[in-house]
Amino acid sequence: MNTPKKYLFIPLIILASAVGSACSSGKSVTSGGNTAAPADSAVGTTLPELAACDTTALDSVTSPIEMTFWHGMNTTLADELVKLTDSYNSSQTKVKIKLVAQGGYEQTIDAYLQGSESSRPDVVQMPEYMVQSMVDTKTMLPMQSCVNNAKFDLSTIGDKAVTAYSAQGVLQAMPFNLSNPVLFYNKKIFKAAGLDPEVSPKSLEDLKAFSEKIIASGAAKYGISLDSALDSGGGWYLEQWFAKAGELYTDNDNGRTARSTKVLFNSKTGTELLTYLQELLDSKLAVSVGDNASGQDQLLKLVDKKELTAMTIATTAALGPVMDVIKGGQFKEQISLEDLGIGPMPGPDGTQGALVGGASLWIVDKGDNVKNAAAWDYIKFMVSAQSQSTWAAKTGYLPVNKSAETLDPLKTTYATDSRFKVGFDQLMSSKDAPSSDGPIIGPLREVRTVVAQAVAAIFKGADVATALAEAETKANQLINDYNALNG
């Protein structure tokens, strides 16, 4: 501590300049980069040569190959994944899969992208918003290589799931756990309000009318609970609503024919949708749970005695866990297992259809033929009709294999409990158009973050046009930066 006193002012000035808002540029932290011209490399064309995947390499193996699989599943979903993997391990002697739970999708992404190459697993589960970024890491073996080599019949897998995980004209990852948002509602409240408990609102107009009736009857305080989290109400649902409206979310056919260069959500459809939601909140027909930090706040509104709410929107993957909670009996006063109603996600004009959500399985290419073949063998098992039947029946995820619904236990589940089938039917009724495949852009997660902030602002009364325009500028900046680096 012998620093002469007179030099102390130097750090103090730095500090003051940092805190002083007088020198704030008012710009976003990401806006500094010199943006290069958008890349125009076409993604729609097939690569000249796919990396090789020799699926027969496993034939000559005598001692078991140890494989690591990083996943982001939690609670009931993780338990079911363990069971499914155990049955794979005991079904054969050549491959032994070791599951490593990373704690969630985001943790899995961070561990994968930021870890060293040697620490990477052999198989990794990645959520649907990571397609373009994973392709751009150039560390993955395109699934199409193995599909071609093994002459695997890709038509056994749902078409929408295949297109969702295709980029550059080839299947990049194998869809595994498929989900989409559905309407969760309390039939008891519907009955009390004089509504048919078996009929859920299909259009946004219905949703409003139902909410008005429920509140007028005094059966509940709010019609629907909304959230502005990026993985649900703040980002993902908006993409879903655009798909339902038959509108593109980003240019170049949602990034399917070439890399997207800009977002298209600041449009008439976007403005109308968010104005509609804002009006629902303003007229107290809906309640907002904000950022939904717990991921369950919107669902908990259905059992909140002080602010009882009739409906909410959540992923089909929540169905299994929600039923487990209801079975626990903590909320038996508010809702029973039979009272839980599931309907398709209400959309503009009542249009059906939904985007593929959830995650897929990726093979990490370490240049080892035997490991690649082992990964393929495991993945093939995981998407087989029988595995998917068990998986979907236990979790609420939708089967990726078309024949899964003809096999037990899913056959019985679908026959006895139609609630599990709602998301599936919704997906099947999607239109065959690029708008129904969802956007693929490198920084989709970051774009959702800025959209979620706009939605949160709109929910709190901000001007819809201003908020959307601001989000559009930020999102385009993110896309440009990404393309400049990866184009």
Partner: protein, 297 residues
């Protein structure tokens, strides 16, 4: 400088392990972070392009960084003085030789064995607006607003601060208790003989004798406040949006909803800036507090 040439060689050999470890784990990473700070990169850090050294100023002047810095300062102001006062208060209260005091000492120090993650989860459950305990209790006093303390832009940061104060209490309590027990009893006795009452003894004997410990604890608490991450991640994820009222600098660097998280370059720029600010702050703290510290004779 050295009496024999051999001394220099021996000294170098003895310093070598420390120099090697420091170079590998401190100097090299720091240098690399400073270097990365002028680049824009992808998440793997393998694809980069230069953005210019002005990036440091761009980030420093960006609204996001200034906002996060402000939140961090407010957070430190909320947690450090309160944590210090409560910690010292409890330690002084428990520094009595009476029956059953061990029970209270155990309780007051128990949070030292609680990780930030566990503490945050406990408070998350307590603060949960639908099923939590606190909202029900608070609503009796009319304090509770609808979306819950963590969902309200005005109360989210104080709510996290309470979690942090509680979690750090054990640490402060143990350190201060140890320091109290090392104060010679004669000092109190002579103060009593001079006619000093309880409060006089506290301000004129206890506080000066504790001052080195208080400086240490306050520097540690300030550093902890500036590094606060787990609490924010588990309780609010930087929200509530759109105000981002709990987005601290560390959360801006690698939080789940951070826009720079997947850009190793921008991330390094932000991290280096935080390092510089903390360095400055620690210097200021040492210089301004050191003069008041009484190290005894």
């Amino acid at each position: 400088m050295f009496r024999r040439r051999g001394d220099g060689l021996i000294a170098s050999a003895m310093l070598a392990p420390a120099i090697a470890i420091l170079s590998i784990f401190v100097v090299y990473p720091l240098g690399r972070a400073v270097w990365l700070g002028h680049l824009r990169c992808d998440a793997t850090g393998r694809k980069c392009r230069t953005s210019g050294w002005m990036q440091y100023f761009d980030v420093l002047r960006s609204s996001d960084f200034q906002h996060a810095l402000k939140v961090t300062f407010v957070y430190a102001l909320l947690t450090v003085p309160a944590g210090l006062v409560i910690g010292v208060g409890l330690a002084v209260l428990a520094d009595k030789q009476i029956r059953g005091i061990g029970f209270f000492r155990t309780i007051f120090s128990s949070t030292v064995a609680t990780s930030v993650a566990v503490a945050s989860l406990i408070w998350f459950v307590l603060l949960q607006p639908q099923v939590g305990l606190l909202p029900d209790m608070l609503s009796m006093f009319g304090v509770m607003k609808n979306p819950g303390l963590l969902n309200d832009a005005g109360t989210a940061l104080p709510a996290i601060a309470i979690t942090s104060i509680w979690a750090n209490l054990g640490f402060t309590f143990i350190i201060v208790t140890a320091a109290l027990q090392s104060i010679p009893a004669e000092l109190f006795e002579s103060a009593m003989m001079d006619g000093a009452g309880g409060w006089k003894r506290f301000t004129n004997v206890t506080i000066p004798m504790l001052s080195p410990t208080l400086l240490f604890v306050s520097v540690v608490l300030v550093t902890r406040a500036f590094q606060a991450y787990a609490e924010v991640d588990l309780l609010t994820k930087g929200g509530p949006n759109p105000e981002r009222s709990t987005e601290t600098v560390t959360y801006l660097i690698y939080g789940q909803t951070s826009l720079v998280k997947n850009d190793i370059g921008l991330k390094s720029t932000t991290a280096v800036l935080l390092f510089v600010i903390l360095l400055v702050l620690s210097l200021v703290q040492f210089r301004s507090l050191e003069r008041r510290v009484h190290y005894g004779n």
